[in-house]
C-alpha cells in the first residue's frame, strides 16, 4: 500500500529537519511531503538544503489549506493512505504504524491518534482539555462520531477520504469539522492511543486569547456542516 505522510509546516525552521529525519528512520517505507505554508523564516531554505520532498505555497493558506494541498497531492499521485503529521515535532512518527494499521486491515477508513486513551505524554492545558471534551460531545451530537481527541492532527485516512478531503476540506481550525464531514459521508472512524510531545519550537496557531472564539467558531461550523450535508446512512 502506498502511504503518504503530509507534514504541514509554518515557520518550523528549528525542528522540521529533525521531524522529517525521524520520520524517515521510523517509517522508511512511507513517502512524505512537507507543505511549506509560505513561512517567513528559513523553513524553505532548510527544506532545500536537506533535500526533502516539499511543496512551497506562495501565500499563507493556514493549516487547513496546507493539509488540503497535501490531500490533493496524495490524490494526484494515487496514494492509498494519507497520514497527517505536524511539522512542529509534537507527533511521534514511531506511532505511525499503529495509526495506519486499522486502515490496512480494513477496520476503519479514518484513524485518529488520540492522547486521551492512555493519557500519557503532553496532554495540553486543563482549559484546552475541557474545550476538547465539549467539542467531542458537540461532534457526537451532530454526527454520531464518538471520539476522545477531536483536535488531534495525527490521523490517517483511506483512499476514499483522500478523494473527499482533496475536494472539500475545512479551512479554519479544520480537525473537528473534518471528523464531522467524514462521518456524514459514512466514514468508519477509529482511535488509537498515541503519546504526543509538547511543541518543540515555534508557536501554536491557536493562541490562548482566541480559545473561546475558536470554540464558538468550530461549534458553529459543525452545526452548519450538519445542516448543509446530508448524512449517509448504512
Amino acid at each position: 500500500m502506498k502511504i503518504l505522510v503530509i507534514i504541514p509546516a509554518y515557520n518550523e525552521e528549528a525542528c522540521i529537519a529533525s521531524t522529517v529525519n525521524k520520520l524517515k528512520k521510523d517509517a522508511p517505507e512511507c513517502d512524505y511531503i512537507v507543505i511549506n505554508d509560505c513561512s517567513t523564516d528559513n523553513t524553505a531554505a532548510v527544506l532545500e538544503k536537506e533535500g526533502f520532498n516539499y511543496i512551497h505555497l506562495k501565500s499563507n493558506l493556514g493549516i487547513g489549506g496546507a493539509v488540503s494541498t497535501g490531500y490533493k497531492y496524495a490524490l494526484y499521485n494515487d496514494y492509498d493512505i494519507a497520514v497527517q503529521l505536524d511539522g512542529d515535532g509534537q507527533h511521534d512518527s514511531a506511532y505511525l504504524a499503529s495509526v495506519v494499521k486499522p486502515i490496512v486491515d480494513g477496520e476503519a477508513s479514518i484513524v485518529i491518534g488520540s492522547r486521551f486513551i492512555k493519557c500519557e505524554g503532553f496532554l495540553s492545558s486543563a482549559f484546552r482539555r475541557a474545550g476538547i471534551t465539549i467539542l467531542n460531545g458537540w461532534i457526537r451530537l451532530f454526527s454520531g462520531a464518538k471520539v476522545t481527541d477531536c483536535t488531534s492532527g495525527y490521523r490517517a485516512v483511506s483512499r476514499e477520504y483522500i478523494r473527499a478531503y482533496a475536494k472539500e476540506y475545512p479551512i479554519d481550525y479544520p480537525e473537528p469539522e473534518a471528523i464531522v464531514l467524514a462521518k456524514l459521508n459514512g466514514a468508519t472512524i477509529k482511535e488509537v492511543p498515541v503519546v504526543m510531545k509538547e511543541r518543540q519550537t515555534g508557536k501554536s496557531s491557536i493562541r490562548p486569547i482566541h480559545s473561546l472564539y475558536y470554540m464558538f467558531k468550530v461549534m458553529l461550523s459543525i452545526f452548519l456542516c450538519r445542516l448543509t450535508h446530508k448524512k449517509q446512512r448504512g
Binding site: 511543496i55 505555497l57 501565500s59 493558506l61 488540503s68 490533493k72 497531492y73
Partner: protein
C-alpha cells in the same frame, strides 16, 4: 432610490404597509436595508474568490513541484 424619487407615492404606500410614521425614518431604514443586502452580496463574492484563490495557490504549488521533479530527473 431613483424609483422612489420619481414615484413618491410608492414610498408613501410602503411606509403605510410597514407602519412607519415619518418618511425620513422610512428612507433611512430602506437605505440601511439595501446596504445590508449589498454587504451580504459582497461577502458572498469575497468568499467565493477566496476559495478560488486557495485552489489556484494549491494547484500552482503542486505544478511547481512536478516541474522540479521533472527537472531533477532530467539532470540525472
Amino acid at each position: 432610490m431613483v424609483l422612489f424619487t420619481s414615484i413618491p407615492s410608492l414610498l408613501r404606500r410602503l411606509m403605510v404597509i410597514f407602519n412607519i410614521q415619518s418618511m425620513m425614518n422610512g428612507v433611512f431604514a430602506l437605505c440601511i436595508f439595501f446596504m445590508v443586502i449589498l454587504l451580504m452580496s459582497l461577502t458572498s463574492i469575497c468568499s467565493k474568490q477566496s476559495d478560488k484563490l486557495r485552489t489556484l495557490t494549491q494547484e500552482n504549488a503542486i505544478l511547481e513541484k512536478r516541474i522540479r521533479d521533472i527537472e531533477d530527473k532530467l539532470e540525472k
